[in-house]
């Protein structure tokens, strides 16, 4: 793929939890419209890295720059940035006290992005996109895992983000529901969304990713196209990991 504009620039990112170094000096660039899949063993810092990108984790050092705005600068309004950076969680995190429609309408209306009518229209469009337009009145506990995750994706899309972060979106799902969620994500990728995906779905990485990053012990050890990383891994630890999961 021809690299377009740099959407996210990560410079020398460090994250410590107390004495534990979770991320060590990570530098990376993510381009507009690119799908980057991060793989690696558990505990390697993949999720922490992703959560730093919208500052759910405060960084210990280094900089994260999205569209020219430095997230680590105290003067940056992080809430404004988060409006444009959607996040999908492993455990869905739908608001349990609201039905599907209100889950989708809450943020756009509360943050005055649009009127109630427009938010509802948007919500209906997004639900249709994920194939759940008939469940608007359901509460989260009435949905299956796959449905919950599709609603969660729709909820993020209602804010009209230009970047989407996925934190192991299929890891908490029953196997037969993984497909429906991945299908929605593939469609998003086709539509040109900039996506950063932490996942154990190697098939998805192969099929959809423009670039694969392999992380281990808080560093990016290898990166390249899926063909390069899966077909001819250079780093012994990448080889070892791929041998175990493939």
């Amino acid at each position: 793929m021809n690299p377009g504009n740099v959407k996210i620039r990560v410079e020398n990112l460090r994250k410590d939890f107390g004495r534990l170094q979770v991320l060590r000096d990570i530098t990376a660039e993510i381009y507009e419209g690119e799908v980057v899949v991060i793989i690696g063993p558990s505990g390697s810092g993949k999720s922490t890295f992703l959560r730093c990108l919208n500052q759910l984790e405060q960084v210990s050092g280094g900089r994260i720059i999205i569209d020219g705005q430095d997230l680590t600068d105290p003067g940056t309004d992080i809430n404004k940035i988060r409006e444009r950076v959607g996040m999908v969680f492993q455990h869905f995190n739908l608001f349990n006290n609201m039905n599907v429609l209100r889950n989708l309408m809450l943020a756009p209306v509360d943050l005055k992005q649009c009127s109630k009518e427009e938010a509802k229209e948007r919500a209906m469009t997004m639900l249709e996109r994920v194939g759940l337009q008939d469940r608007i009145n359901a509460y989260p506990h009435q949905l299956s895992g796959g449905q919950k995750q599709r609603v969660a994706i729709a909820r993020s899309l209602c804010m009209k983000p230009d970047i989407m972060l996925f934190d192991e979106p299929t890891s908490a799902l029953d196997p037969e529901m993984v497909g429906e969620v991945l299908d929605v994500m593939k469609e998003l990728a086709r539509d040109g969304m900039t996506m950063v995906v932490v996942t154990h779905e190697m098939g998805f990485a192969r099929e959809v990713a423009n670039r694969v990053l392999f992380m281990s012990e808080g560093s990016i050890l290898e990166e390249g196209t899926p063909e390069e990383v899966f077909g001819n891994p250079q780093n012994p630890r990448t080889r070892d990991f791929l041998n175990k999961v493939l």
Partner: protein
């Protein structure tokens, strides 16, 4: 018993009114204190958490009767005699309300803290990730879910506080127990008088419990 009630009924009913008035004032301010201190104890700010912790432990560590004496006699004495600044007087109602508010407020704070912490952290993170500021997320997503789990404990605390008003008979507030003491002193019919008082408390608390059940049912999600 009936004769006693016929003769002293109006007096005891007035006293019950005073008890309820005291409880109402106390609970009202206790809710405010509880909400503020409860939220302070879940904030990311060490100073706020410290203040909340000290307040809760201080109040929980002192018997309410001591707190009542301290506020009613001790605090005016401090201002008037020790510091010699102005003449501070507290009525028994004021001192009693403060005492109940502080005591009940400390326990309410613990209930509210536990309620907020029982809501999965992911709820807050999801709301923040959409761009909602902390307080909006708290107000729209976390607190509504927390309140649902808190209601039974809050009702329980209300009942305890209502009964605790009887402790304030020691500072001379004319609530039910204090008045009943006077009735016994005048008639020597302690079995009958205390029997009537017990039944009066019981009725009020049963009514409160019934109202709580109705409220609890209303607050459940439409779908459940």
């Amino acid at each position: 018993m009936i004769q006693i009630f016929q003769k002293y009924g109006p007096l005891l009913m007035t006293a019950m009114g005073q008890t309820l008035l005291l409880a109402l004032y106390g609970l009202f301010f206790a809710c405010i204190i509880g909400l503020i201190v409860g939220i302070m104890s879940v904030l990311n700010n060490k100073v706020c958490r410290g203040i909340a912790l000290v307040f809760v432990n201080l109040i929980r560590g002192v018997p309410m009767i001591v707190l009542a004496y301290f506020i009613f006699f001790g605090v005016p004495f401090l201002f008037n005699t020790i510091l010699k600044i102005g003449s501070v007087t507290l009525t028994a109602l004021q001192a009693g309300s403060i005492c109940l508010a502080l005591n009940c407020g400390a326990y309410m704070a613990e209930i509210i803290r536990a309620g907020i912490q029982s809501v999965d952290i992911g709820q807050m993170e999801a709301a923040r990730s959409l761009g909602l500021p902390y307080w909006r997320a708290m107000q729209r997503v976390v607190l509504p879910q927390a309140i649902r789990t808190m209601i039974p404990s809050i009702i329980n605390q209300f009942i305890i506080t209502l009964k605790d008003t009887s402790i304030l008979s020691v500072i001379g507030f004319p609530e039910l127990v204090n008045t009943a003491k006077n009735v016994v002193a005048a008639t020597f019919l302690s079995f009958q008088t205390w029997g009537i008082v017990a039944i009066m408390y019981l009725i009020v608390i049963l009514l409160l419990q019934w109202a709580a059940k109705v409220l609890e049912r209303r607050l459940k999600y439409e779908s459940r």
